[in-house]
């Protein structure tokens, strides 16, 4: 069944604010991830849209032109048509091989959590994760689904260079650094697979709402699969 956003989603639960002359925010505090994902897809049909940043309870909309009358843009968002039978595209599951021997903070993380390494690895990989958000840096994936008891503090001093493909825990969140960059999260493993390719269209194959499963591999398997330059 096709419904406009105003009816598919309680209008009272939607609001907006300006961010800049060309950007505004749509707030959806009560939406589930699947709804945000679906609404983000239909937003792509808006006129003069540059791109959107879908987050936990908001979607940022950047336009290619100044927003003269934001109320009218909000109105056109409410008029967008949503197919409420299907909950967005079917869920995609990615299996990412990761090598825990290449996680420089694994020892200290396990010590902090008072866990045996093997136990931590087994339980970390036993979980399924979901891409909550993409951003902060090119290709950085924020993943939901970290077991609450695996929360560890961020590093007191951020690393200047985190290797590409690092899997990390920062507070109650876990994530993946696609590119070498500075970072303050604790590095527990590394994947040999490249998750960001500037020459590919789109540059990332993992999107918000996708499910992620991690599979532990040995350093030898890492080397055989390694796509990173360093």
């Amino acid at each position: 069944m096709a419904l406009d956003l105003r009816r598919a989603y309680n209008q009272a639960d939607l609001s907006w604010s300006m961010l800049s002359e060309q950007a505004m925010l749509l707030y959806l505090p009560k939406a589930r991830r699947s709804a945000i994902q679906q609404i983000n897809q239909v937003l792509q049909g808006l006129a003069d849209l540059d791109s959107t940043v879908a987050a936990y309870d908001s979607i940022g909309l950047l336009f290619t032109k100044p927003i003269i009358q934001p109320e009218l843009v909000f109105e056109s968002i409410l008029n967008l048509t949503l197919d409420v039978r299907v909950s967005g595209k079917p869920t995609t599951l990615h299996t990412i091989p990761i090598c825990f021997e290449l996680g420089p903070d694994l020892e200290s993380v396990c010590a902090h959590l008072k866990l045996e390494k093997a136990d931590f690895i087994h339980r970390y990989c036993d979980n399924k994760y979901e891409v909550a958000m993409c951003g902060f840096l090119p290709g950085f994936l924020y993943l939901d689904g970290l077991a609450p008891e695996f929360a560890v503090p961020r590093l007191t001093q951020a690393r200047k260079q985190v290797p590409a493909g690092s899997i990390a825990i920062g507070g109650t969140q876990t994530g993946l650094y696609s590119l070498p960059s500075p970072g303050g999260w604790q590095l527990i493993a590394r994947t040999p697979v490249s998750c960001f390719d500037a020459q590919a269209q789109p540059p990332m194959k993992k999107a918000i709402g996708d499910k992620i499963r991690f599979e532990a591999i040995s350093p030898a398997q890492f080397n055989a699969l390694n796509t990173h330059a360093d």
């Binding site: 961010l19 791109s51 936990y56 950047l62 927003i67 951003g135």
Partner: protein
């Protein structure tokens, strides 16, 4: 195709190729990028008859020396004090003719940061997502995704159109960088209401000071007296110009290579027309804020569009 070229004899930190930046990339966490002082870039391009957002060389903080292997029409704008062609002094903000084997030294202005060299024609660069703006973290744009360095050779194709060598900027378009405490116009940000009543009331009288921690991603500034009820938000979109308040008096002003999302309250937003001026402020320099509404911000941006149109070849 035969091209003209120059060699960089002396480079500066973060010397890069820039244009207006990338579109349609925020969803992947890629910054828009682009010239820090986009207005100076656009003026340089207009002086040599290029499209305003054509690729230029962005330089900063120290002098740069270039050896031209071919004749060219060039213009320098932004933080430039003088241009020496074979040790002869020339004024910035002019279209100048250089000959093969000329050595061009550009002297930086002591009171600002970024300066630009436009060359009449089409500067060759690696384009990623439709832009040659250099972003080393993801190896985007530039010659090979990195900053320019000594020994690099830049190529350009000459445009067919006639160049007016005498072209010069009107005096009112040449920034002096001498205001003691320049005023930067801002919009209310999405979390403006988190400011305390006292902070809101004294917002326009506050002196902000830039820290030394300033780069293409962000400028940090101290704003004593600016306080909020809470310094965390659920991660959400940010754009260049967003002013985040991460603690009492701790402002982070996001610049061209900023991240695409952040977790600090977005108290204010620098209007697009004033982000260029802000980019030119020096560490420890003070500045003030003036709150404007959306209509005034649009007006300021249209004024700039008008300036660019008036300089059409």
């Amino acid at each position: 195709m035969p091209t003209n070229s120059l060699t960089i004899l002396k480079a500066c930190p973060a010397m890069s190729l820039q244009d207006a930046g990338r579109r349609g990339v925020a969803a992947w966490g890629i910054p828009s990028g682009g010239a820090m002082d986009h207005q100076a870039m656009q003026l340089a391009n207009r002086l040599v008859g290029n499209e305003p957002n054509a690729a230029v060389i962005e330089m900063a903080l120290i002098d740069v020396t270039l050896l031209f292997h071919h004749e060219a029409y060039i213009a320098c704008t932004g933080a430039v004090q003088a241009i020496m062609i074979n040790e002869q002094t020339h004024l910035p903000n002019h279209c100048l003719n250089v000959q093969a084997l000329d050595v061009v030294q550009i002297k930086v202005h002591p009171k600002a940061n970024f300066y630009y060299l436009a060359i009449a024609g089409n500067l060759q660069a690696k384009r990623d997502f439709g832009s040659c703006s250099t972003y080393p973290l993801a190896r985007l744009g530039g010659l090979d995704g990195t900053y320019l360095k000594k020994g690099d050779v830049l190529h350009w194709e000459v445009s067919a159109q006639k160049i007016k060598q005498s072209k010069v900027l009107a005096p009112h378009l040449i920034p002096l960088y001498d205001a003691a405490s320049p005023i930067i116009r801002v919009l209310k940000g999405p979390e403006f209401e988190r400011l305390t009543e006292a902070s809101k009331q004294q917002l326009e009288s506050l002196e902000l000071y830039l820290s030394t921690d300033c780069n293409r991603m962000a400028y940090r500034a101290l704003a004593k007296g600016m306080e909020a009820s809470d310094y965390q938000i659920t991660s959400s979109m940010v754009v260049p110009g967003s002013i985040q308040l991460s603690g009492p008096g701790q402002c982070t002003i996001l610049m061209r290579d900023a991240q695409t999302s952040g977790g600090y309250p977005r108290i204010l937003q620098v209007i697009a027309a004033d982000l260029a001026r802000l980019a030119q402020l020096k560490p420890n320099q003070s500045f003030k804020l003036r709150l404007v509404d959306l209509a005034e911000a649009h007006q300021a941006n249209s004024y700039w569009e008008g300036v660019l149109n008036s300089l059409r070849p």
